[in-house]
């Protein structure tokens, strides 16, 4: 959408006012991904493997989900920080403009500093791809891309749900982190290393398994026959946006009936 690019350029100009600060902050955010990577590295260093998965295989899980999360954050930061937008009255201003609110919210917070995370995740991804023993045929590449795109949709949906909840209460919101940050942390590792109910939960309630586990199995060749399904399963995660959107609209209606 053309308008989004206008938002993009105004944020860019805003950030360029403070070049050094931008640079340093980006490094800072990149560090979070780096330390997660380091933690995983040390654990494998000590334990060697986990439930039959090697370090390189697990790196694929790690890098795809971190990439998805980083990109989703870049776009969806407005929803992620929605509690601030509501409490300082910015949402009223958004409602008074003749444009779709979602577009405006997405445009209102474009944090370039998050690019640190993105670059870091990308580096890990490249390393994971190159050091893995997977033969990267077309179908595997497509799967990988789907994993990332599916992940972006999923996390964006989760951010939207968080924002929708902000309409009802501004307290106790941190439990949503269980799903966003928690989901990300959990899915760094292949989901079957945990108890059974974890996979079930992340298949049927918050479909992270479809972006990170099933396609991953397909890539490393451990899928038990359901080849095509596993490969295309991220598409199911993209459908997660539907309930998120519905919840969002409910939230907006509630706001219009109770004010701030």
């Amino acid at each position: 959408m053309k308008l989004y690019f206008k938002y993009f350029s105004i944020h860019l100009r805003s950030v360029m006012q403070y070049k050094t600060s931008f640079f340093l902050t980006s490094i800072g955010t990149g560090l979070t991904t780096f330390f997660s990577f380091l933690s995983m590295y040390f654990l494998f260093d000590r334990f060697g493997s986990i439930k039959g998965y090697t370090f390189n295989e697990v790196l694929l899980c790690f890098s795809t989900i971190f990439m998805s999360f980083a990109i989703a954050e870049c776009f969806g930061r407005g929803f992620d920080t929605f509690s601030g937008i509501i409490s300082n009255g910015e949402f009223d201003r958004i409602m008074v403009r003749p444009r779709n609110e979602i577009l405006q919210i997405v445009g209102s917070r474009i944090e370039f500093t998050r690019i640190g995370r993105l670059i870091q995740a990308f580096i890990v991804l490249i390393y994971a791809i190159s050091s893995s023993r997977v033969y990267w045929s077309i179908d595997k590449v497509v799967t990988l891309l789907l994993m990332i795109v599916g992940g972006i949709c999923l996390f964006f949906g989760l951010f939207m749900i968080y924002a929708a909840i902000c309409f009802f209460t501004l307290e106790g919101l941190e439990f949503m982190n269980i799903f966003t940050d928690g989901g990300r942390e959990l899915a760094q590792y292949p989901l079957d290393i945990y108890k059974d109910w974890v996979i079930k939960f992340f298949t049927f309630v918050v479909p992270i398994a479809f972006i990170n586990y099933y396609p991953f199995l397909y890539i490393i060749g451990k899928n038990k026959g359901y080849g095509l399904f596993y490969m295309l399963s991220p598409v199911i995660s993209m459908l997660f946006l539907i309930p998120s959107y519905i919840l969002w609209r409910i939230g907006v209606r509630h706001y219009k009936s109770t004010g701030s």
């Binding site: 340093l24 800072g28 500093t113 209460t169 307290e171 919101l173 941190e174 439990f175 590792y189």
Partner: protein, 267 residues
């Protein structure tokens, strides 16, 4: 002194107001606790060889970590103090008849304690009743239990002193957010916030054990389940005291220097 107490009281009550936040926090902590335990269990099963910490002790460590997260997490930095510095309103704080360092120190402690107070008991109680080996075990012995409590208090001082240094650092830097994230992340990792320190490679923990980071949560939690033998434990606690004193001293010196050249931004 009375001023600090009422300061503390206000902050504490303020922290208690947020009951839904507390419930949410408790749920979150539980979820994370379970998650970590499951993860480490999977690792332990894959390679049940020589581990520096038996699984049941690790479980205790994790639960203590989650229950007292509000006390020791390094990436919780009082935003209002932070904003005071970046937008220049710190000059108002200077008008009060109290020492700024002590004021902010008390504020941080009160905030952490009130948040921890709300959340720790449900988590501790629930963790006690979990089945072995996932549960929070009993302390190793009476002596260790007492040492544990002392160590916890010291750990809080060290953490807050470190955070004070982070605040002070923002006086000197043009990029407060970047500096803050970096310093806080390093501390988080090195204090055992991402992985419990005993699980890090030995060549690394050798050095970390002498740094202030080990004093921030690792020492008390290990003391609790007796992961450190008694003599080493006593030394570790003494090291905590030393770091507490050093960090506070550095903080106070740097603070008074920084205040002398307060550059007021904004307006």
């Amino acid at each position: 002194m009375k001023a600090y107490i009422s300061f503390f009281r206000i902050r504490f009550i303020n922290g208690l107001q947020y009951r839904t936040a507390a419930y949410a926090g408790i749920a979150t902590q539980f979820a994370w606790g379970f998650m970590f335990i499951m993860l480490y269990q999977a690792f332990y099963k894959s390679n049940p060889g020589i581990v520096p910490m038996p699984f049941d002790q690790l479980s205790s460590y994790i639960w203590l970590q989650q229950a007292f997260l509000a006390l020791y997490m390094t990436w919780f930095v009082n935003n209002d103090i932070f904003n005071l510095i970046t937008n220049g309103n710190v000059s108002y704080e200077l008008c009060r008849p109290l020492d700024i360092y002590n004021m902010w120190f008390t504020k941080s402690c009160a905030y952490r304690l009130s948040r921890a107070a709300l959340r720790c008991f449900p988590i501790l109680i629930a963790a006690f009743v979990l089945p072995e080996p996932y549960k929070l075990g009993m302390p190793y012995s009476w002596i260790f239990a007492i040492l544990f409590i002392v160590s916890m208090a010291l750990a809080l001082i060290v953490v807050v002193a470190y955070c004070m240094l982070v605040y002070i650092f923002t006086f000197y830097t043009i990029s407060p957010v970047g500096a803050r994230i970096t310093l806080v992340m390093i501390a988080d990792f090195l204090s055992g916030g991402l992985i419990p320190l005993p699980l890090l490679p030995d060549w690394l923990t050798k050095y970390i054990d002498f740094s202030p980071f080990a004093a921030m949560q690792n020492v008390p939690f290990r003391i609790y389940s007796g992961n450190i033998p008694a003599d080493k434990a006593a030394l570790a606690v003494l090291l905590q005291v030393a770091w507490a004193v050093i960090l506070v001293a550095i903080g106070k010196i740097l603070m008074s220097r920084a205040l002398k050249n307060v550059v007021v931004q904004g307006g």
